[in-house]
């Protein structure tokens, strides 16, 4: 399947799942659009990974009180409009889940047709010893150490978590009167900045 079809399918399925999509030319214009987006929403506190902090010229806030989490997806799946994230440290993972708005960058060349196409990558990542992203897994240890109900000795020094998360649209529930309602636990809005060209 060619890139155009994949892109079109991804946008269609992701929107059908309730995500909002902005197509931007490159990382630079993505950063500009994001700044406008945050300004419009009057958002001050954002939680984001360290490599994005520099690029976007944004300061990182505590994730628990952030109004927006800014993240990057490793893959996008055209069949279902799913974002795939290989996450290893808590800070980044919480940026996906805790704030009411989640903004995600996704590069066009990371779109695949179906999950089965990246089964090997997922499998390798889950079984791998080293963190392929080079991200230090310190946040998790710190959080555990600072948790009041845990004896300090209980926290493990070596955290070797491997997690692959698939995210499709915002958090949803139909548990009351079978009516679809958005944003029960996770983000109420999932905004995808779809970057057509790879950032330099």
């Amino acid at each position: 399947m060619n890139h155009e079809t994949l892109k079109r399918d991804f946008i269609r399925t992701a929107e059908a799942a309730g995500a909002e999509i902005f197509v931007v030319a490159d990382m630079k214009s993505a950063a500009e659009s994001l700044r406008d987006f945050l300004k419009n929403l009057k958002i001050e506190k954002a939680s984001l990974a360290s490599d994005l902090e520099m690029r976007l010229e944004l300061r990182n806030s505590d994730v628990k009180s952030s109004e927006v989490g800014i993240v990057r997806a490793d893959f996008g799946v055209a069949e279902t409009g799913t974002l795939v994230h290989f996450d290893a440290d808590d800070g980044q993972k919480s940026a996906w889940t805790l704030p009411p708005v989640c903004v995600c960058f996704l590069e066009e060349e990371r779109i695949v047709e179906s999950l089965e196409d990246i089964a090997d990558e997922m499998s390798r990542y889950l079984a791998s010893e080293k963190n392929s992203h080079g991200i230090q897994s310190v946040a998790a240890g710190e959080e555990a150490a600072s948790h009041p109900s845990l004896p300090v000795s209980a926290t493990v020094g070596q955290v070797t978590l491997r997690q692959v998360s698939l995210i499709t649209g915002p958090s949803r529930t139909s548990d009351i009167e079978a009516q679809l309602t958005i944003g029960v636990h996770g983000p109420k809005r999932l905004v995808i900045f779809f970057i057509e060209k790879r950032a330099k």
Partner: protein, 698 residues
């Protein structure tokens, strides 16, 4: 709990079921459901063959990652292990993302006894927990509550007035549960799959609570049953592909996580056996371990749709629940659930794991009748009467003898005495016909003038009529014989005794085998056996051979065909030329009988035949394949459910305005005709054979 059918719940479940079917169909568009589930089932069977090896690999890989893995052989043991983990770390609050297995072990109550709060975080589960309610559905536990009732539960528990619009209710849940998740010392989840190659778990949620529960509290506890293991991510993705579509009609849920190893302090994985190894060792029941807990079987179950999961459960719900209950919580607890299965087999059509659920329930009923006390009336009816061909014949003879007393002028039976009104208030019961089919057929043959046959008969066909046609509706048998003879077959009546299905379906194997042996003898010498009742066809071609397990019964099976399928198979499309089109065509609507459609897969044959022969388009009723509520002895055990199903069926029929209701099962005919008669509706209810014999060219 009330014996009656709650109208609010009934409406909610009806709407839910309808929406579910539409969504499910949309998301399977372009995919081959049957191929997907066959692939899943075959892979899963391979895994189950070497379950212990896969579990060992999973354990090794998860431990290498820093997780602890322990096996618990009983629910009690699993609960103790979890208590120990929490007490060792002085954790007082546990948050949970939906875990069926923790309900199976009744973990929440156990932890409460030890002073530990376990809070559900899935919205529906939390509502049910706060309201101290029983869940109505596996995936949507609080579906029976209205928004007002949910608001009342929240207001009562939070000590403040909560507005009763859904977004506000969801907002309150978000706020309250977020506090709990941030304060909890541990999070507990189940696992939709345990992936051996990486020691990881797959977790599927929509709300996002699974992600929070596994990543916010420092300790993550996984409580999963042993059959959840799969070798690699490929199998997990295959499962995901079919599970979410079949469960909620979504291409994928909002969140799916694959987690390997602890994210912070610890990940404790508890693998629960709880009698699953015993199921695995029992070839007659092993298939149930493929269950993916999608609850599609509930969504399409006619009984569940009326009474919901609070009445149709013992922790595990519905038909599939009866099987898990039997092994996990005891045979005695499973009886109520097994009895509520009317044996329509509709669930099997939708099962993601291709489990022969209704067949397994019959096997469970066999165990129930062998090991527990049998209901008295069933023992008499099945082992004493239907299971003894001589006694059965005498009983039907007595019925005929009593006809002047029983029968009314229109052929229906007189009303039952007041204590038994619940059985005939909603449908008129038929009185036995003055003469049996066999007697009428023989008299007709004897009266025929001997003629020179132009052709040798195509084949010797024996008509197996079944008890209802033989004794109550002989005209159907005569019609079928007429069509077959006109088409050039030599026709003989089959044995006039019970096929054995009613005893077999209720687990009375002794009576079933005895009845079936008599039938087998009577059918010797036939080239083909044509049935007029789909349930008899199921007995003669499937259940009987399974019970007797001998050469003769296996040889009979392929000769047995329901009337419509026989004609289409032997005569082909050319059969259309043998009929005269109706000069005054009446509108026909077709009712799918459960066994005809779901076991014999013959519903399309009947529709096709009616179309070719009579040149008529069907005027389809809504829910043509919904059960009419007859279901044999079920309508005696649960007349209120039988009645409710019939009411829906009659309403659907009346809405079409059709003059004729065509069908292929004398049981459905009894129910629908009896129901229309009570409503003074003049529509005809006919067997396909009757409609065909009216229009065949002589």
């Amino acid at each position: 709990m009330s014996k009656n059918v709650d109208p609010h719940l009934r409406q909610v479940l009806k709407d839910f079921s309808r929406n579910y079917l539409a969504k499910r169909e949309a998301c399977f568009a372009g995919l081959d459901f049957d191929a997907l589930r066959t692939d899943y089932a075959e892979r899963k069977d391979h895994v189950l063959e070497r379950l212990e090896d896969h579990l060992a690999e999973f354990t090794k890989n998860a431990e290498a990652r820093g997780s602890t893995v322990r096996r618990a052989s009983t629910g009690e043991e699993a609960n103790r292990l979890i208590l120990d983990i929490l007490e060792r770390r002085q954790i007082k609050l546990l948050v949970k993302s939906k875990s069926m297995v923790s309900e199976e072990t009744q973990l929440n109550a156990f932890l409460a006894e030890h002073g530990i709060e376990a809070s559900e975080t899935d919205l529906g589960e939390w509502i049910v927990q706060l309201g101290a309610e029983l869940p109505t559905h596996m995936v949507m536990p609080a579906i029976h509550l209205t928004r007002k009732e949910v608001a009342a539960v929240f207001s009562h528990n939070l000590g403040r007035a909560v507005p009763d619009d859904i977004p506000s209710l969801v907002g309150v849940a978000r706020e309250e549960l977020r506090k709990k998740i941030l304060a909890a010392g541990a999070g507990l989840t189940g696992a939709n799959a345990l992936i051996a190659e990486s020691g990881s778990i797959m977790l599927i949620t929509n709300e996002g609570n699974g992600r929070l529960v596994t990543t916010v509290p420092p300790v993550h506890i996984v409580l999963a049953s042993i059959e959840k293991v799969v070798p690699s991510i490929r199998e997990a993705l295959g499962l995901l592909r079919i599970l979410t579509r079949n469960a909620t009609g979504q291409n994928i849920t909002s969140y799916v996580s694959f987690i390997a190893g602890p994210h912070a302090a610890a990940q404790d994985i508890i693998l629960l056996d709880n009698h699953r190894s015993e199921v695995l060792a029992d070839a007659r029941f092993r298939d149930m371990l493929r269950c993916v807990k999608c609850s599609a079987c509930l969504n399409v179950c006619p009984v569940y749709r009326l009474i919901g999961g609070r009445r149709f459960s013992h922790i595990y719900m519905g038909g599939i629940g009866s099987l898990f209950t039997a092994w996990i919580h005891g045979l005695k607890e499973s009886r109520k659930l097994a009895d509520l299965c009317m044996g329509c087999h509709r669930c099997e059509e939708y099962c993601a794991a291709k489990i022969p659920i209704a067949d397994l329930i019959i096997r469970l009923k066999e165990r129930l009748t062998a090991e527990l006390r049998k209901p008295f009336w069933k023992m008499i009816a099945f082992n004493g009467v239907l299971g003894k061909p001589g006694v059965a014949r005498t009983a039907f003879w007595a019925g005929r003898a009593g006809r002047p007393v029983i029968s009314r002028r229109d052929g229906t039976a007189r009303r039952l005495p007041p204590g038994l009104r619940k059985y005939d208030q909603f449908r008129a019961l038929p009185a036995p016909a003055p003469k049996t089919f066999t007697a009428l057929f023989k008299a007709k043959q004897a009266a025929k003038k001997p003629t020179w046959r132009m052709h040798r008969p195509k084949a010797l066909v024996k008509i197996f009529t079944g008890c209802l046609v033989e004794n109550f509706y002989p005209e159907i048998g005569l019609a079928a014989a007429d069509v077959l003879e006109t088409l050039g077959y030599e026709v003989k009546p089959g044995p006039a005794s019970c096929c054995g299905f009613p005893p077999a379906g209720s687990g009375f194997t002794k009576g079933a085998k005895r009845a079936f042996r008599t039938v087998l003898e009577g059918l010797r010498g036939a080239d083909s056996v044509v049935t007029l009742c789909p349930t008899c066809a199921v007995m003669l071609s499937l259940k009987g051979p399974e019970l007797l397990d001998n050469e003769e019964s296996r040889a009979l099976a392929p000769k047995v065909l329901p009337f419509s399928s026989f004609l289409l198979l032997k005569e082909g499309w050319g059969i259309g030329h043998r009929f005269d089109p109706d000069p005054h065509p009446q509108t026909v609507t077709y009712h799918d009988s459960c066994h005809h459609k779901y076991i014999l897969k013959a519903a399309k044959d009947s529709r096709k035949l009616l179309w070719i022969a009579l040149g008529r388009e069907m005027r389809e009723m809504e829910g043509a394949d919904s059960c009419c509520g007859f279901a044999g002895s079920f309508s005696v055990s649960y007349p209120e459910i039988s009645r409710a199903l019939l009411e829906e069926k009659l309403a659907a029929i009346e809405k079409t305005g059709a003059d004729i209701v065509a069908l292929d099962c004398p049981g459905c005919l009894l129910q629908i005709k009896g129901g229309l008669s009570r409503r003074h509706n003049p529509s005809r209810v006919c067997h396909t054979a009757e409609l065909l014999s009216e229009r065949i060219k002589k």
